[in-house]
Amino acid sequence: MSTTTISCCKGGPPPVAPSDKKASTMKWFAATIAALVVWGLVYSQLVPFSDWIVAQLPVDRDSHLGAAISFFAYDTPKVLMLLTLVVFAMGVLRSFFSPEKTRAMLAGKREGVGNVLSAGLGILTPFCSCSAVPLFIGFVSAGIPLGVTFSFLIAAPMVNEVALGLLFALVGWKVAVTYLVFGLGVAIVSGWVIGRLHLEHWLEEWVRNLRATAADLPPEQITVVDRIKAGLEAVYDIVGKVWLWIVAGIAVGAFIHGYVPSSLLASIMGRDVWWSVPAVVLLGIPMYSSAAGVIPVVQALLAKGAALGTVLAFMMSVIALSLPEMIILRKVLSIKLIAVFVGVVGTGILAVGFLFNALF
């Protein structure tokens, strides 16, 4: 066997010649651990680093500009580093799952149990919106109920590693876990409701008539090294795509942090303003590509007195209900079914927003 290079892993350690497979595995292990140690060392130095940056500039640390710059100088590397770590871990974890395995697990499950399992697998199964249609047809044609399929399709984009990683990095693990739990809740309940409505006849006709037997794929041979590579590939793919949005988002966040007075936001997005929840949900629907950039702004909004429920509803709406995905799904769903989908999920998000503002 000659040396093979994996074109996808440009950012990773140089590929090792597979002279001895075991030695190569050990090298990958060592390199991964070394990279994690370096990560930890750099991360622990971020506060002194950002203080040093601000100290070099001729601005007062406590001025508006000083506050904005120190927020930017600390948060940008912190967020990008935490995001890289979370995306890497998710990439490795996801190499254990595939849409075909998920479909096999969901086949024959009743609604209810099926919705819960489906939403959970939605987080773990590798998924991109470009494969939403093959996945949808693949599930439905294998006899998985429509509502269970929807639970997957709602959870997969909404509760993703970018959203969770950024929330964890910027707002803390409690909000990240809350988002995870309620995101899953919206996916499970919305899917279940759509299933109860029995809307199969609103699928496009060719989808309804399609019955396919699952392909009998040869068993995969995935080594530990392949899983590490899958993690690196995810980092290259995802962080490479969203970093610019994040930096832009943090810049806006830094501006809000330094200049916008708290009282202004509290009066528009505070918990006493009931209409702010539906307003942000509507606002979030057409927004999509900037999801990664929205979360740093979200953090600044929270810090300035916006209500947690309102902010979470905004995030969910931006991420879960997106125009591009609806256009893709139009190939398999009728307009009526898309409208029901948006209505049910939007209502779920509204409920989460109101519930949070009432409870906390």
Partner: protein, 78 residues
């Protein structure tokens, strides 16, 4: 002549997969005819749930993500 079908709606990875198949086949000296299947109904008919998929001589060998070059070599040589 091996009959290879690359299943996918025309995303970037599907194009890359077709190129990988061609490159690997050239390297091995295996004559292939590559056909891209982009119709959703036809793709679903092969029983996969993720793209790109690869079908060689009527048998589905791969679904979802780029194939590994080693695997491609094995499938094409079989």
């Amino acid at each position: 002549m091996k009959d290879v079908k690359v299943l996918g709606p025309g995303c970037k990875r599907c194009v890359a997969t077709a190129e990988m198949v061609q490159a690997q086949a050239d390297k091995l000296g295996v004559p292939v005819s590559i056909e891209k299947v982009t119709d959703y109904a036809a793709i679903a008919g092969y029983g996969i749930a993720s793209t790109p998929g690869i079908v060689i001589d009527g048998k589905v060998v791969h679904a979802g993500g780029l194939p590994k070059p080693d695997d491609l070599a094995r499938w094409l040589a079989a």
